[in-house]
Amino acid sequence: MARPRLTYLSREDREFVHEQATRVLAEIGIGYNTPEAIDLLAEAGAQADRAALTARLPWELVERCLLTCPHEVRLAGRDPRHDVVVGDGSLTFCADGTATYMLDERTGRREEGSAEWLRKAMRLYDALPEVDYAWPTISARDLDPLTAGLEIEAISLANLSKHVQDEVRDPAHAAPLIEIFEAVAGGSLWDRPVFSTIDCTVAPLQHEREMTEATMAMVRAGVPVLVLPMPLSGTTGPMSVLGTMIVTVAELLSAVVLFQLAQPGCGIISGMGAGVADMRSGLYLCGAPECALMNVIGIEMSHFYGLPCTASAITCDAKASNQQAGAEGMLTGTSCALAGADTILAFGCSDGAQSLSLAKVMLDCDSVGALRRLVREDPIDETRALFDDIAAVGIGGHYLGRKSTRQLHRAGEVWQPALWQRGPFEQYQGRPLAGEAADRADELLRTHEVAPLPEDVAAEIDAVIERYARTVGASGARVSWHDAP
């Protein structure tokens, strides 16, 4: 069997990156910025500075914590048929986020995200088999900011029967969210983690107090965590691919230590969020070739530590679904898939993940399909050499009448795109690809039905959100999570 494989770091190179990251943890340390973390770390043997809320981490402690990390992490769907196991050798794809704007590819205009756009995007992800699970992909700017952290998850779960992954930014959100997720899961999140949390570290070498405390509470309830360091080469990371990845690895390992101390054995996925700063605007670039290299190094180092990983790809810096978008997305996509990522963040985002386009979601499904075909394991033997057919056809002639042609074509030897335009030019004249994609998204949204949350579960979510709204003094006149447009 043959499967294309990309490697970058040699064994010595991996050791070098490991040694530098270990030096960073032991000599510089990490700002955890919360006394709750510092207490745990001090007890475990880290050199903690309680005044500065920082800690230096000896390798022995990091290694001990790595040993308690599971190699596979199950992400349960609201519908068990959509359960995913990250790290089991399969390649899965998750919808990217979190965009601020919604892009209309037909006009080139964009508008701020809303609850209704979030609802539509999640319904579209529900309809697409290429999407295994999803982030709440676009900000719902019209929700009451006091309760949005809860309502965004409610909207996501109501419109998607797959697993949801997102940040919990406020420790006060943790308890009500756990109630909501347990209501949806029909029991403990240890049994069915329908939600996993994203913990973004703050480069260089820091953790944010509120998100860290919230994440600690979530992992203690059985929620897996995606650790997502995001140093940007040139601003919050040094001006080299390698240096930025040393920061990434150090931040990742510092999170591993913290969350394994908070909840030994909790599921941790290593996420690749490192990117490049556009030095003119300071903006985050995610489609640059250096981003692809960072992903490759991150995937290799994650596997070096025995951690499953989520790579960032397919998303682009282009401003529309144009040639740049395809090239940037496929550059990061091929490198991540060939390097052996367990999950790839993809689908719909452009403009440095600031804009979401439903048309691009549809087009990215074809990119994902092509990638899956590229990295598929294929036999290199008589069944594919087809020597008998070649000998029988001989010199001249054709293979149209061969049984093997029909049989292998039906079996998927040649991948078929859903939207990409093959065939004669005239067939597509006057039908721009992005417009066709937007039409297809509209059609799916018209026809696809998401299994609704059971009434008692919806009522429980209402009750949890209402209770929380009262405690924070939220206005009753806000847009609600299940408001119709």
Binding site: G234, T235, N322, L374
Partner: protein
């Protein structure tokens, strides 16, 4: 450190080799020309003189492979544009030979003309990422009896770079040689400004006239790019592996043919095998299976010690849209990672039927991004920047570090020429394709290709006209 890649294991390469050898020994190939019957028989092939076919024992193939040089000069009309295959680094050439020219702004297309070919060649001359060219579009308004001669004339009038193309009949070969030597100002054996694209005919055949013509070109000193083109499902079997085996058998049969016809001639394994679109029968150039076929054939050609040209960056998309970028980058990455010496890229879409000015300049960003990805970078203290990490410490930023400025200026971060970075508002209302079109038009308008000397132009015209006179 640079990205390393592998598809076939050593055992699998051996399997592909054995199947290819079986094919050459048991099925054979049709050369369709009597001129090589005797040399083939003398060299040990089993020749069927009536059918003009031969079965090739491995010993013969191996002997011929040993004669193929490793370094291949592709001379430019201007020596400043000479390039050598095998000198290190990947070379890029334009794709060819399209039938139509696209207006990227309207989406309309028309049949190619001399003016279109001239414009494309001006653009290739101006784009530094294009190392050499293929006559990228067929001009429908020149006399088809001298199509390739006129294409060589038009190309060298508008480009200083090396050209690869075909000569389709042996009668035209001496004419082409005279024309090229007039332009080169030297024998082709010294300044091979032109190389032949030799398409085999799948499955397992050679075109008599083209074969005879290209043997003459090889004897005059022109390198030969062997381009087998079996299409998976129609002229090739319905598997990536089977089609690749067929590709390799046709390639090796051409190696034997040319090394017997012109011993020691320069040869490149060019991968033209692809997938057939089973609804329309069209050639697909951007499918993931195309990427895999390129990978297998490049790995096998390297196994045989041959220089390689991958087919990539071209696409099946009908415009410079997301599909064009994704298809081009997928095949581009596959060929680059597999270690191609040359990548056939630049300018074509719609399964290589349509040429586009905008795509040409956008493809330059694609190949530069690939080059940055493939670049060898140190994994050591100079890039780990530990001193900077320690000094910036927890929190803070790297904007003020000397290493930031130094490495930024040193090219740590690749900068595209056309792709849109920066803010959304900065680019709102200006589609990328419009920027690309404008850039292409500006490059063509600013072109500074010196005209061919008057005496050379007159000589070239006279050579073509004399041949046409004789042809009448």
């Amino acid at each position: 450190m640079r990205p390393r890649f592998e598809y076939l294991t050593e055992t699998e390469r051996q399997f592909v080799h054995e199947q290819t050898v079986r094919l050459l020994e048991e099925v054979g190939v049709a050369y369709n020309t009597p001129i090589l019957t005797q040399p083939l028989r003398e060299a040990g092939a089993i020749v069927d003189e009536a059918k003009l076919q031969a079965k090739l024992p491995w010993e013969l193939v191996e002997r011929c492979l040993r004669q193929v040089p490793r370094d291949i000069l592709l001379a430019g009309r201007d020596p400043a544009y000479d390039c050598t295959v095998g000198a290190g680094g990947m070379l890029y050439t334009s794709d060819g030979a399209a039938t139509y020219m696209l207006d990227d702004l309207t989406g309309e297309r028309h049949e190619g003309t001399e003016a279109d070919l001239a414009a494309m060649m001006c653009l290739y001359d101006a784009v530094p990422e294009v190392d050499f060219t293929w006559a990228t579009i067929t001009p429908g308004d020149v006399d088809s009896r001298v199509g390739n001669l006129e294409m060589a004339r038009i190309t060298f009038e508008h480009s200083r770079k090396h050209l690869q193309d075909e000569v389709r009949t042996p009668e035209q070969a001496p004419v082409m040689i005279e024309l090229l030597e007039a332009i080169a100002g030297a024998p082709l054996s010294e300044r091979p400004i032109w190389s032949a694209t030799n398409c085999t005919i799948a499955p397992l055949q050679h075109d008599a006239e083209m074969t005879e013509a290209h043997i003459l070109m090889a004897r005059a000193g022109c390198p030969i790019f062997v381009l087998p083109m079996p299409q998976m499902g129609t002229t090739g079997p319905m598997s990536v592996l089977g089609t690749s085996i067929l590709n390799m058998a046709e390639l090796l049969s051409a190696v034997v043919l040319f090394q017997l016809g012109a011993p020691g001639c320069a040869m490149v394994s060019a991968v033209g095998s692809a997938v057939a679109e089973m609804r329309s029968g069209l050639y697909l150039s951007g499918a993931p299976e195309d990427g895999l076929i390129n990978v297998v054939c490049i790995e096998m050609s390297r196994f045989y010690g041959l220089r390689t040209q991958g087919s990539a960056v071209s696409c099946d998309a009908k415009a410079c849209d997301l599909q064009a970028g994704a298809e081009g980058m997928l095949t581009g990455m596959a060929s680059a990672l597999a270690g191609a010496d040359i990548m056939l890229a630049f300018g074509l879409m719609d399964s290589a039927q349509t040429a586009s000015l905008a795509k040409t300049v956008l493809d330059a960003d694609t190949v530069n991004a690939i080059e940055r990805f493939m670049r060898e970078d140190p994994v050591d203290e100079t890039r780990a920047l530990m001193d900077d990490l320690i000094e910036v410490g927890i929190g803070g930023h790297f904007l003020a570090r000397k290493s930031t400025r130094r490495l930024y200026r040193g090219g740590e971060l690749w900068q595209p020429k056309l792709w849109h970075r920066g803010t959304f508002d900065q680019h709102a209302g200006t589609p990328l394709v419009k920027d690309a079109w404008d850039r292409a038009q500006a490059l063509i308008a600013e072109n500074d290709v010196p005209p061919l000397p008057d005496d050379v132009r007159r000589h070239v015209r006279a050579v073509i006209d004399a041949y046409l006179g004789g042809a009448r």
